[in-house]
Amino acid sequence: MSKKQKNGSRTGSPGQLMIPLVALGILILFNLFRDPSFFAIGIAVNNSGNSVLSGNLISIIDSASALAIISMGMTLVTAACGGQDISVGAVGAIAGSFFVKVLNRGSSITIGSVILGIIVCCLGTILFMLFNGTLVSVFRIQPMIATLILFSCGRSIAYWINGSATPQLISPIISAMGMTIPGIPIPTPIFAVILMGVLLYLVFKFTNLRLYTQSVGINEGAARLNGVNPVMIKLLSFVLLGVCVSVAAVIGVCRLGQLNHKTLLIDIEMDAILAVAIGGNNLGGGKFRIIGSVLGAYIIQMLTTTLYAMNVAPVNVKAYKAIVIIIIVVAGSPVIKAKISSLITRLKSRNESVAEKEVA
């Protein structure tokens, strides 16, 4: 088996990244023509006396962090279950509540209590995600319906856990996690994305999880006959999504230094599903490429920041974003793809026939 074929069978189709890469390229070109200073990066000193990198590019990569991390997990759930988890925003609020609850128990916030907070937050979130996973894998409920339960009640549960409307976390450690670590001008959330990416890469490199997930997503029955337990694989995808949601929630809480259970990670489920779709992944499950979804997340954020830079108010951004996203999704649809490839072959054959005539 040649190396190329092997890659092709292990990951999504080779052309999968075409759509997100082209979309990203167009956005970059558009901004270059509109205003080259869009890409300028500067260094400024903020109130805490830290040097921070500033500029639109940094703002895009930084702001997209939570979305990028959640879309990694969403890709896995999509691939294994052939459906999406729409409760990630609400479960994110629960995750944030666990984190804040642990930190506000002690008198002061220390590195130890932060680590404990993250562990408790991860475990608690995984528990809620296992609830989703059980409904989907054991009871075979449509993922969107199964996760509708936590989608609607998750934010109330978050309030019960934290027991206060907007608990505050005021500590240099928290601002270092949500903003920048003193001495390092790069925003910390960017490191969290890299960390999660590397972690997932290692998991896929040293286990057969990718192969198993894809086989369950493509044909559950065939996977079972070959000794793969679909229930376990689906549950595992929800567990990994739970870890992603926890990290994203911690970023969200630390960024503001407070928890608002009503608005933490609000509407992120829709953007995450979009990121998966823009990344060229099949929303019906099967083969997947996480890097595609991550690219999708950055495209969504770049679009938002571009619109901000063009003086579109945040409330209106959604409408403009929708237009661009329709174009990207339609361009990536099988119908259009088939049309384009047939157009290319026709052009090629016509060129060949013209060339033949010239020869004659």
């Binding site: 921070v52 206060s164 907007t166 903003m179 503001l256 407070q258 608002n260 608005t263 920041t305 901000y308």
Partner: protein, 323 residues
Amino acid sequence: MKKLIALVLALVMCLAATAALADGIKVGIINLDPSESGYREANVKDLNETFTAENGYDATFVTAPTADKQLEAAKGFITDGVKYILVSAAETTGWDDVLQEAKDNGIGVFLFDRMIECDPELYTAAVVSDMRSEGVTAVEWLESLGLEEYNILHIQGQLGSAAQIGRSEPLQEKVAADDKWTMVREGTGGDSWDPEEARKIAQAAIDAGEKFNIVYAENDGMADGVVAALDAAGITHGVNGDVVIMGFDCNKWALRKLLAGEWNYDGQCSPFQAKLIDEMIKGLEEGKEIEGLNELKQIINVEKGFDAKTITEDDVNTYGLGE
């Protein structure tokens, strides 16, 4: 058999009557959801701590975020035969029928925190904040800074709410009247006064390269959201910074930021109406008239604004809400 039923009924009524006597003044309190904000949390807690059995009350508390649930609760209280109803209404209209029914049944109605648009005859008194004076105080403070120019980033609250209108209008009027004052950008944190939305508005202004030196946010959470965007972009703020930060509500954590010089101003919005209402009810029970009401039967809670340069540790502990 009939005799037995009559006997049982009579017994039950006797029990109910003695229970009512023993439990003190029967009041029904209708509030909004405490998870709404730090303000509401403090408000609900204040009422819970004031209308207790030890203080001579038999109080039932209902917190409901929507008008229909609140109206339902009010009707329930009327059927229950409470003596007083206390309301902080989710919506300003639609209360006329219920309030009329309460009046017909001789029930006293106190409005707190939020006004209802109806004939003042339908309620006994209202204990409210003058949101407009909060806005006027803030704008006067801003003017007293005597800056060369005022380039303002204005983060509004839930559009159409009394707090938003009262805090927005004085600023908007000043901007319209004075050439030195410019509104760089105006946005809203939406119905939940969302800090994250405020952060996005500030981020958008920074991304678009707009220069502002004043942040006028209509509550503490949203001011904090803007500050997060400023910190990320490396823009200094507060007493020694480039941007003046203003918030409202006086949460304890916000006042601490004033004390640390990270913010410049915080306007008070007092959630403590329970004590005033308690005094009025006790007065009525002793047969006294309520005094000091204006033409809308209001008693205005006195409120102030705090400056980062003059605030003290005592102010934080006395006026700060929550922990």
